[in-house]
């Protein structure tokens, strides 16, 4: 019973996802690119970086990267916590 319920939910979810992929704008032709065009155009004058991706990662969206570094740090702390030796 549970199994059939899960299978049904899965089929609906998969159908929705594929429907969404089909309904999205065509591959290789982004509809709206003003933000990305800005990054490609101004990463050299504003950040003085040849690599626009690095300019985004560390400057325009540097705060995200701080969060990402935090995630990695948290995970390592978590692994150290889970795999620590406790005398009990």
């Amino acid at each position: 019973m549970n199994r059939w319920l899960a299978t049904g939910a899965f089929c609906i979810a998969a159908a929705f996802l594929i429907l969404g992929a089909v309904a999205l704008r065509p591959f290789g032709q982004p509809a709206r690119t003003e933000m990305d065009d800005y990054f490609n155009r101004y990463s050299q004058p504003e950040v003085a970086a040849n690599n626009a991706v690095t300019a985004i990662v560390f400057d325009y969206r540097g705060y995200d990267t701080l969060g990402e570094a935090t995630v990695l740090f948290t995970a390592v702390t978590g692994v150290a916590l889970i795999l620590r030796r406790v005398r009990k």
Partner: protein, 147 residues
Amino acid sequence: MTVVVRTITRVLLPISLVFGGYVIMHGHLTPGGGFQGGAVAASGLALVLVAFGVERLAGKKGLLSVLESLGGVAFAALGFLGLGVTFFANVLAGSGGLFGHPVPYGPNPGDLNTAGTLPLMNWAVGFKVLAGLGAVVLLFGLFGGEK
């Protein structure tokens, strides 16, 4: 592990570390950056772990943890550096000093001394990722070995 693996590890370890350093150093000029370079260098550590056993690196756990914390603190501190303007503002870019050269617009050969705080952040993140991934692999290895 056999002598073949050990010998090849001896050859590959410096190569992976140097290549990781290269990827980190040129993060603002070529594909790559702190995360990618750190992961490349950490693969060298994992290789050592496989070839020589966990015991060889067991004493380095504290060092890796300190290195990781330092990397994190350095990265956050570079963010705080921008507080005169806003958090995470790139105050060094185009300032003329350290990493402060301007670049011309359009394709160019690249100049290491550009991009302001980006190269510094790349290094901080690179060390952090190297230490973090190394510590994870080491912790898993140590946990299996203590039975």
